[in-house]
């Protein structure tokens, strides 16, 4: 049985003056240990989809099941990293990264140690006692990543986690996140604008159509690429072929819009 089963979900936003159909008929099964990337045109409903999987947002219709249980509210099994870092400015970095543990009542010496260890791995160990306002955008994003990983969720939802980073940091972090996730056998869903990132990191790439989003096409990343670290994967011929395919497909959306 798949870890995550998304069944015919739809989402429509209502306001007094407008009805926005964001998601229409999405079906998807994500296997344990799988890494999925979601790409699609801006504003098509990627964040909406992720919010529903996290349990923060209820679908208008359809069901989402995690481990066979229907998701109705956020669960500790799922970690969600929002599109921006949203670190709490009034808490020190140490308190920020242990926020999830504290909220779940899991804060102990060991779990805090683990969180600080993760912070170290991200190269931010020395900043544990400063406040978020003293960090750069990229550093803050790494802290947000640690905050999510600290509660050891099974399923990771990442909403463009690397978009605010410079290219070098981004490549390093991709490698780091990739290895962390594979090592701990986590399942991950990554939303990204970046085709190379999607190919380098994932097992399958789900391309959404324009709003209302449906699954337009699913690309399988060849096994030969999957074994490689993201950084290495980027340098292969297979990588470039897949890149071309996806690029052309995305371009076709643009043409449909203009014609």
């Amino acid at each position: 049985m798949a870890l995550l089963e998304i069944n015919k979900i739809e989402k429509t936003y209502f306001s007094k003056t407008s009805v926005t159909e964001a998601i229409k008929d999405i079906n998807l099964a994500v296997e344990r240990g799988e890494f999925i990337s979601i790409i699609g045109p801006s504003g098509c409903g990627k964040t909406t989809l992720l919010s529903m999987i996290s349990g923060l947002l209820k679908p208008t219709s359809g069901t989402i099941k995690l481990d066979g249980k229907q998701i109705t509210k956020p669960t500790p099994e799922t970690g969600y990293m929002l599109q921006q870092d949203y670190l709490f400015p009034w808490l020190s970095i140490r308190r920020n990264i242990t926020l999830g543990l504290k909220t779940m009542g899991l804060l102990t010496k060991e779990t805090e140690c683990h969180a600080l260890h993760l912070l170290n791995e991200m190269g931010l160990g020395e900043f544990k006692d400063v406040y978020p306002s003293q960090l750069s955008g990229g550093m803050r994003q790494r802290v947000a990543l640690v905050r999510m990983l600290a509660t050891q969720p099974k399923l990771l939802l990442l909403d463009e986690p690397f978009s605010a980073l410079d290219f070098q940091t981004k490549l390093k972090l991709e490698d780091l996140v990739h290895s962390t996730i594979k090592e701990h056998e986590k399942t991950a869903i990554l939303v990204t604008h970046d085709i190379s990132e999607a190919i380098a990191m994932s097992d399958r790439i789900v391309m959404l159509s324009r709003r209302p989003a449906t699954i337009h096409r699913i690309f399988k990343v060849p096994d030969a690429l999957k074994g490689l670290e993201p950084f290495e994967a980027r340098n292969t011929a297979l990588f470039n072929d897949l890149f071309q395919d996806i690029w052309e497909e995305l371009e076709s959306f643009e043409h449909k819009r203009t014609s």
Binding site: S51, S54, G55, L56, K73, P74, T75, P76, T78, G79, Y80, L82, Q84, Y86, F88, P89, W90, L91, S92, L99, G100, T103, M104, Y131, S133, Q134, T151
Partner: protein, 265 residues
């Protein structure tokens, strides 16, 4: 010059500027008292109406030796502090209730607007009838004057907290109650502190007016009594004491601010 010397020069410059500000401030104060004394002693200003620093000083010494100044000051200070704390706490609690229930906030909205535009001191007589002419109505007045505006300001701050912070904490499974205490409330500390600062002043207004109306004790009473018996030295003395005490309260709030908002660096 190397960096260290430059830095030293910079620090020196800052110090010099600070000293200059302090000296100017002190000079204004001295100038004020000296000219007050001078103008009244030369009868350019009528000392019967404007009193004079020396008269106020003498009265202060007399009132200290018979102890009455401490009684009056502490009564008023007690009332003000209590009114201030009650007003702020009740206002924040009401804001929390409005945040909790959208229905309640929509129902209460017009009433709050009306109550806010109402001059609270005009309710004085009703308070006195209701609570009796004593401490309780004075404290109530001190609280009443700040409670509505606190409610409105703090509630607005609660509403404006970025929803995404709440999403973060909810994604960790927090209940609404937990979200309130770990996100909404701390995110609004800066607003709450600035209402505290406003409320210090408001509580003094409420309490002094309250004492005008009912009291047999307190600095407000000294003012109204001095006015009635045409003893303006007494009025001036009370005013100066109020100025000192109100400033001290304000400084305490600033101390609290530095403690609570140290993350702003």
């Amino acid at each position: 010059m190397n960096t260290k010397e430059l830095h030293n020069a910079y620090v020196q410059g800052l110090k010099r500027e600070k000293r200059f500000v302090r000296i100017t401030q002190l000079s204004i104060l001295i100038l004020f008292f000296v000219s007050w004394e001078f103008l009244t002693s030369q009868r350019i200003l009528d000392p019967l109406l404007f009193s004079s620093p020396s008269r106020v000083w003498n009265l202060l010494l007399i009132r200290i030796s018979d102890g009455s100044i401490f009684v009056h000051s502490s009564v008023t200070l007690f009332e003000t502090v209590l009114g201030f704390i009650l007003g702020t706490a009740m206002g924040t609690a009401m804001a929390a209730m409005l945040w909790w229930s959208r229905f309640l906030s929509r129902v209460m909205d017009p009433y709050l607007v009306v109550l806010n535009s109402m001059p609270k001191v005009a309710l004085g007589p009703i308070l006195i009838v209701g609570l009796g002419p004593g401490f309780s109505s004075i404290i109530a007045m001190g609280a009443l004057i700040s409670v509505i505006i606190t409610t409105l300001v703090v509630y607005n701050a609660f509403k404006e907290v970025d929803e995404n912070y709440v999403k973060v904490i909810r994604s960790f499974g927090a209940t609404k109650r937990k979200s309130f205490f770990s996100v909404i409330l701390p995110a609004c500390f800066p607003t709450i502190i600035s209402t505290l600062k406003v409320n210090v002043g408001l509580a003094w207004v409420g309490v002094i007016v309250g004492e005008f109306l009912v009291s047999k004790q307190g600095l407000g009473y000294m003012i109204i009594y001095g006015f009635q018996v045409f003893n303006f030295t007494m009025v001036m003395l009370s005013l100066l004491i109020i100025a000192v005490l109100a400033t001290c309260m304000y400084q305490l709030v600033e101390l609290l601010e530095r403690k609570l908002l140290k993350y702003r660096g």
